[in-house]
Symmetry: C2
């Protein structure tokens, strides 16, 4: 089944202690879409400027990503620039140029409105709500977010949480949202905001699902070298939703494996700058790492 | 098979944002011994002063802990006092009174010298070496340590690492020891120091084993409320070694489950101050949580 993904489509300039990479393809929707496309067709909703490199459009298309929902407007593409510290965990934003993103109003092509699986990737919650309002009875809607929206758009975010099936947060965001120091206490509070499924991302420590069938402790694939973690969280949720949209059976039957597939897709993302590694991965490599993770966690 | 445990036997005064508990039974060997005793007989090597409460000796005995190796010397028992922050992760030491520990020289009773399983719980590496020198061909020796010894006794610690089968460190200590930011890179370097088995503790994020059969990602039992994490690491390694000593078959066949049992034992430790919760746990409760963890990690 087709999955609709809305989020940011951007150019990322990423500095790490070892290298500098200007104007890579980035943004939450780009990472999520490329991750999801391993499992089935993807519909992308986003906006780029007239400066958006043609090769990135070709990259989307090569990955079977439907671009009917991608607006190309006069002006500049959203540009983010950030720098990572040696440990690759802490990053600081050097520059944010919103460009055409500043006035972005996602309008869904008619065909998109009946998508069964909807991933509201990280973007202003007002825009996530705007997309959700255009959907016709989707089967499973998941939203990702970031600390910025907790700080400047909390009322919108709370409105959104009431209307989605699942939300994805990293652990520090969960603490910020709930004021609970303990992650399992935080999860309980997040359920009270609305979502039946709560997924907490913990980076290299894996992730936690809380849903109708209880908790699931999802491992992260062991990586001896992280080149660039930008987009790993987006890849995780993109892979998870892509797997779910493609799988037969109920959400509850599939969501654990979906998270593991998301986790593995995210592991590839970390092995290269931007999307450079993920876009060269084949599905068989993902399957292999999932099998490995099964062995690494069995006792 | 009997397991020998050497380490600190202390009185802990623990302050958390919610409570204050003076002079609880503590120390690395106390926590490890109580954890190990769920699985089989334990031989304790340590030292306490004449002020050591009788009820704590009775507590050891009630747990089938052999005290032939526990010296009771004139003077004061080692007393540690610490305070936890709200998030229960950061703690600071308020006071350390070494007492009789200052001149402690562990001398093993003859019967102890042939123990097959040896846990050198957290204590000065010179003392760990001193105990190891008295052992006659033990089957499996594991040492735990702490940041203090990395700072003030690194040469001794490196000497020790050459002579043990396994070492247990938390992630920040692994980084400190190896200067590697990535935990899997750190593990590789620690193997080069000697140990065939490296276990990295990551608190609520679980633990990682690296051994002859590769990695194992060991989960932590989900706890919605942590009362006091003091001794959790000691409980983990104590439970792990206790399980291993009691299990039939090879180390490699058993070590994964051993870690899970250690992890669960540590989860109980966190649910009460000092040893107050662990000492009231029954083996069946441990088995139940291990089964739960199997379900929580299956995909």
């Amino acid at each position: 089944m087709s999955i609709l993904i809305v989020g940011s489509t951007a150019l990322d300039s990423i500095k790490t202690p070892k290298a500098e990479n200007p104007r890579l393809l980035g943004g939450s929707a780009s990472h999520a879409a490329v991750a999801a496309c391993f499992f089935g067709p993807v519909r992308l909703v986003g906006v780029v400027g007239s400066d958006f490199p043609k090769r990135y459009l070709q990259l989307y298309r090569r990955h079977r990503i439907d671009l009917a929902g991608l607006q190309i407007l006069p002006g500049k593409t959203f540009h983010w620039s950030g720098e990572y510290e040696v440990n690759m965990n802490n990053r600081r934003t050097l520059l944010t140029e919103l460009g055409v993103f500043e006035t972005f109003t996602p309008t869904l092509p008619r065909a998109y409105q009946t998508s069964q699986f909807v991933l509201l990737a990280n973007i202003a919650p007002a825009l996530q709500l705007h997309v959700l309002n255009q959907m016709k009875r989707p089967r499973f809607v998941v939203a990702d977010t970031m600390d910025l929206w907790l700080n400047i758009a909390l009322p919108d975010l709370l409105k959104l949480l009431k209307r989605i099936d699942g939300c994805v947060l990293n652990d520090s965001e969960a603490h910020q949202l709930t004021k609970a120091d303990n992650v399992f206490a935080a999860i309980r509070k997040i359920h009270q905001f609305g979502p039946k499924y709560v997924v907490i991302k913990k980076g290299s420590h894996g992730s936690i699902l809380s849903g109708p069938r209880g908790f699931f402790l999802c491992p992260a694939y062991p990586l001896p070298r992280v080149v660039d973690p930008t987009g790993a969280g987006d890849s995780f949720v993109g892979g998870m939703m892509g797997y779910l949209a493609a799988a037969k059976g109920s959400i509850d039957e599939n969501i654990r494996r979906a998270m593991v597939f998301g986790s593995v897709t995210a592991s590839f993302c970390c092995e290269g700058f931007g999307l450079t590694r993920t876009t060269h991965v084949r599905r068989a490599q993902i399957d292999r790492r999932v099998k490995e993770l099964e062995k690494l966690t069995r006792f």
